[in-house]
Amino acid sequence: MEIDELYQTIILDHSKRPRNFGELPPPATKGEGYNPSCGDEVVVFISQSPQGTIEQVRFTGQACAICTASTSLMTTQVKGKTVAEALGLKRTFIDFLTQDAIPATGLGNLQALAGVKKFPQRLKCATLGWHALEGALKTNVG
């Protein structure tokens, strides 16, 4: 049944028990994602190591299963990556969801969101956390 393609077991799992849920205190930076059409809201917090890698990442918010799971999965993937690597992964992930025949190379668990390809209306949900991440990465630590 198609619905299970969208809500794969791992998605339902991450939506019910999101990983890295919570806030990070300053000097961690944060980025916000907001989807006006459904009210999904996520806030992503990151702290960077002196070497410029992502040391810690957390998120909070109220959102649908796809958005929550995608953000949760994202947090498990970007930890330890450099800013450039994380943003590269974001591009790869969005290309994977929006273009035909893009291999899932390097996406790991994020592949579970493949079902979104068939539900273009949910694309915003699946990418909201990533946009928030980009916001957090581009916020200068003051």
């Binding site: 049944m1 198609e2 619905i3 969208l6 809500y7 339902l12 939506s15 019910k16 059409s37 459904c38 009210g39 999904d40 809201e41 109220q62 959102a63 649908c64 299963a65 796809i66 539900f119 949910r122 949900c125």
Partner: protein, 411 residues
């Protein structure tokens, strides 16, 4: 007792309903967003383009006369549909949103100023809220709200008298039927109170014009707006009714052909009547299709549609209220044919996506009621909304699928 007589008689007129979605028979419960179209409306639009189309008004050849007659017939029909004394009170717009923007701009600019108050309710659709925020900002007037209480969405209308006495209220704009709460506001009493205080009224009839009998003379409102696509009519067409007393000295909204009387390189003046507010080539096919839609609804009878709505609304309330963890907005009784709810921790988007997999069309989101949702501590709800072609067994099907969704998404 299962009462489905309207659906039994009329459902077959709607070709779109006879299809499968994701392998299941379509259960279309998104009527508050847009209703479907009977064959007679679709056929008339096609017939018009095949036989009669030409630009209206300015032409004296045969096709243009036919088009003009059909277009003006639609205006006359809209006047009857709303109980207006004259077709001159009827302005064609794109829809409810444009109608309210027109009034906020053309009437608002001339009649609002610093110290004046625009009064609306907390349950207004964005279309009946943001134009007034903007009008207030532009004119120096202030915008005040009649409070909505609790999930029932009650407004204490006795408050109105006090607010009107204590403030220089110039305009009261409110919805007849709330698109997210499903409550029905007592238009007639409200307008009577406003009239006593000399306050101009605008009724947002987007959710009611196709669902309940409306007579603007009895309601004694100054403006009333609705959208064709929410009452079996085409997209891109709507009606603004204006009481002649307020319409006659209103300035135009848009400028161009058809609405002018005399134009020089220096200045221009306007035609009288509704044409002043219809600049440029109008949505001719839309008006003609809407005429047929209104005729169709009159044949069924809006009192019958209203009774059917109440019935489906109450049945839905009863059956949905048994679901574990459900939170339903709006009153239990005397409700319109729509029901807005939250199911446990499951986000409305997931519910709607899930239901869609079983052929059920619901809407999920803030329903253009963001501030109200926020006030109620909600981000989004799922909404099922009915029309006369819906049946009780479709409600049963909805309940079944929601039960499955609870299991699917439940912790």
């Amino acid at each position: 007792m299962v009462v489905n007589s309207l659906a039994e008689r009329y459902r077959a007129d709607f070709p779109i309903l006879d299809q499968k979605v994701n392998g299941f028979p379509l259960v279309y419960l998104d009527n508050a967003a847009s209703t479907q179209h009977p064959n007679c409306v679709i056929d008339e639009i096609a017939r018009y383009y095949r036989e009669d189309h030409a630009n209206v008004h300015r032409g004296i050849h045969a096709l243009s006369s036919r088009s003009t007659k059909l277009y003006e017939d639609a205006r006359a029909r809209a006047a009857r549909f709303l109980g207006a004394a004259s077709a001159d009170s009827i302005i064609f717009t794109r829809g409810t949103t444009e109608g309210i923007n027109l009034v906020a701009t053309s009437w608002g600019t001339a009649h609002l100023g610093p110290g004046d108050v625009i009064l609306i309710t907390e349950m207004e659709h964005h279309a009946n809220l943001i134009p007034w925020q903007i009008a207030a900002r532009r004119t120096g007037a202030s915008l005040q709200y009649l409070a909505v209480h609790g999930d029932e969405g009650t407004i204490d209308w006795s408050d109105l008298e006090r607010l009107l006495s204590q403030n220089r209220v110039r305009l009261l704009a409110f919805t007849h039927i709330s698109n997210s709460l499903g409550c029905i506001n007592p238009v007639r009493a409200i307008c009577a109170t406003a009239r006593r205080h000399g306050v101009t009224t605008l009724v947002d009839a987007a959710q009611s014009a196709g669902h309940a009998p409306i007579n603007v003379q009895e309601l004694d409102c100054d403006f009333l707006v609705f959208s064709g696509h929410k009452c079996c009519g085409p997209t891109g067409i709507g009606i603004l009714y204006g009481n002649p007393a307020v319409l006659d000295d209103m300035q135009p909204y848009q400028f161009g052909g058809e609405m002018i009387s005399r134009v020089t390189y220096e200045s221009a003046d306007w035609k009288p009547g509704p044409h002043r507010f219809e600049a440029g080539t109008p949505h001719i096919a839309g008006a003609i299709g809407l005429n047929v839609a209104m005729d169709y609804l009159e044949t069924i009878g809006r009192p019958a549609i209203q009774a059917n709505d109440h019935h489906l609304g109450e049945v839905a309330y009863e059956r949905l209220s048994r679901l574990p963890g459900i939170r339903i907005l709006g009153p239990r009784r005397e409700r319109a044919g729509l029901i807005s709810f939250q199911l446990g921790a499951t986000h409305a988007h997931d519910l709607v996506a899930y239901a869609d997999q079983f052929g059920i069309a619901l809407r999920g989101g803030h329903h253009c009621n963001q501030p109200l949702m926020r006030k109620l501590g909600l981000q989004a709800t799922a909404r099922a909304s009915f029309y006369f072609y819906n049946t009780e067994s479709e409600i049963d099907r909805l309940v079944e699928v929601l039960e499955a969704a609870i299991k699917y998404f439940g912790a």
